[in-house]
């Protein structure tokens, strides 16, 4: 469902993503790991058609990110870093705006709203304006926004950052439940999360893809915990 082909992008002299290739099929949950500034966000932004790659390309659900950006965006649910949204809007009007943009009209809209609101358990803040919400609720609103059109591909940039342990657990459960029908990419710094939800791990450092394996395989190969493996691989350079 996702085919990344030699994707590269640099900002001035800094090479953020350097020649990355991988592919994913339905049912996979990919943990996108790497130290800060490794290029995870840049790579995800390119997949979500926000940034243009300098070279290389990728296909999402068969659509090219350069040629058919609109179709790609239709098939992706994207939660950007820090879950940006419009502060002055209420949660309800924000989600309705997303439905407007995604051309989800009644009667499907009501169902979609119902489902997304329930999944992310934001019923209690539905009529509150987003600027009054706590960090955790904001992120859940962002997640609801990404899920509302039931996309086949989900790209989540640090979806559990800033959540309390209960919320983290809920979000992980949510991702696990969806994983069979979808293709999900998650970037995170929480390695226990990777062990719980991810079926595959990619580690990048300085924009280069270093490891493409499974959590289990990686642990067995190095016979150490994921934490230690991560440190071993990323501290080498």
């Amino acid at each position: 469902m996702i085919e990344v082909n030699k994707l590269s992008r640099s900002f001035g002299p800094i090479v953020a993503v350097d020649n990355i290739s991988f592919s994913m099929t339905k049912g996979e949950v990919l943990g996108f790991l790497g130290p800060n500034g490794a290029g995870k966000t840049t790579a995800m932004r390119m997949l979500a058609c926000f940034l243009r790659p300098d070279s290389g390309t990728a296909k999402v659900c068969g659509y090219d990110i350069l040629e058919e950006a609109l179709q790609v965006r239709q098939n992706i649910g994207y939660l950007a870093e820090n879950a940006p949204s419009y502060d002055e809007m209420t949660v309800g009007s924000f989600l309705n705006f997303i439905c407007d943009c995604r051309q989800i009209n009644n009667p499907e809209r009501e169902k979609a709203l119902d489902k997304a609101v329930k999944m992310c358990s934001i019923e209690s803040v539905y009529h509150q304006s987003i600027e009054t919400l706590s960090n955790g609720y904001r992120r859940r609103v962002g997640l609801a926004q990404a899920l509302i059109h039931d996309p086949p591909v989900l790209i989540l940039d640090e979806p559990t950052d800033g959540l309390d342990p209960n919320q983290k657990y809920e979000i992980r459960q949510l991702i696990k439940n969806m994983s069979k029908e979808k293709c999900i990419i998650i970037s995170t710094h929480i390695l226990e999360e990777v062990e719980v939800v991810c079926s595959r791990i990619i580690i990048i450092t300085n924009g280069k893809l270093l490891v493409d394996s499974t959590p289990k395989g990686l642990k067995e190969e190095h016979s150490a915990s994921l934490d230690e493996v991560f440190r071993k691989i990323t501290c080498k350079r």
Binding site: F50, L70, P84, F97, I98, D100, R102, Q103, Q145
Partner: protein
């Protein structure tokens, strides 16, 4: 729903969800009413709105960038541009949606000055046609101002910078058409160049529409101005989406 329409609706609502719209409307309505009275609106004993319209360009030089500066700068600053431009809408749909919302807002502001023409019609026997073309001219002119503001808002995430840049460019385009500037320029520039500068300015086009003469060249000037600056805005946003 079309992407532009969705963005348009959201943008327009956001003006009224924050105090921005109300503060702006009050200040704008106060000055647009106060200035003509100061200049002798009643004393000249003429039933027309020339004094009202002649103050608009200078008022807009400062007021329009206030509404336009936030259009894209704020999106960049808060990061919501990443949300907006990863939704299945094109950059040009988003830009047009936002621009048209701000234009519509300014048209509402202008329409709220309606007590002025009503007073004149009640007191005297004015040329209603000229009033209508005056409003048409103001709508077009404010569209041009907004397009320029929208462009400068798209190049930076700092609202202050975007405000200053658009005020500067708008002042140049307004002052270039003032008689004093043209007199000065004609002292050392050839006549052809002076008239070229005059036709580049807002003022000559606005004044001829406001007098009741609707000419193709004046309408075309504003339409081309809007399309040109908005296109430049789309190009900028396509090239540079982050910061």
């Amino acid at each position: 729903m079309n992407g532009s329409l969705a963005v348009f609706k959201r943008e327009l609502k956001s003006y009224f969800a924050t105090p921005v719209a109300y503060v702006f409307l009050v200040i704008f309505l106060f000055f647009s009413g106060y200035l003509p009275f100061r200049q002798g609106f009643f004393e000249i004993r003429q039933a027309d709105m020339r004094l009202f319209f002649s103050n608009l360009p200078l008022l807009f030089v400062f007021m329009v960038p206030c509404t336009a500066m936030r259009l894209w700068s704020e999106e960049r600053k808060s990061g919501s541009i990443e949300l907006l431009l990863t939704l299945p809408i094109t950059v040009s749909q988003a830009v047009w949606g936002k621009f048209l919302a701000s234009w519509f807002f300014m048209i509402i502001a202008l329409l709220l000055t309606i007590p002025m023409p009503i007073t004149i019609i009640y007191l005297g026997n004015p040329d209603v046609g000229a009033m209508l073309t005056g409003y048409l001219g103001s709508f077009l002119m404010v569209g041009g101002f907004l397009a320029i503001g929208c462009f400068f808002s798209s190049i930076t995430k700092n609202q202050v910078i975007s405000f200053i840049l658009s005020v500067t460019v708008l002042s140049i385009l307004v002052y270039a058409g003032m008689p004093t500037t043209l007199n000065y320029l004609s002292s050392f520039l050839p006549a052809g160049m002076v008239s070229a500068i005059e036709t580049m300015s807002f003022l000559s086009h606005f004044e001829s529409i406001q007098r009741g003469v609707i000419e193709f060249k004046d309408i075309a000037y504003f339409i081309l101005l809007i399309i040109g600056w908005i296109y430049a805005c789309i190009v900028i946003l396509n090239e540079r989406k982050v910061s």
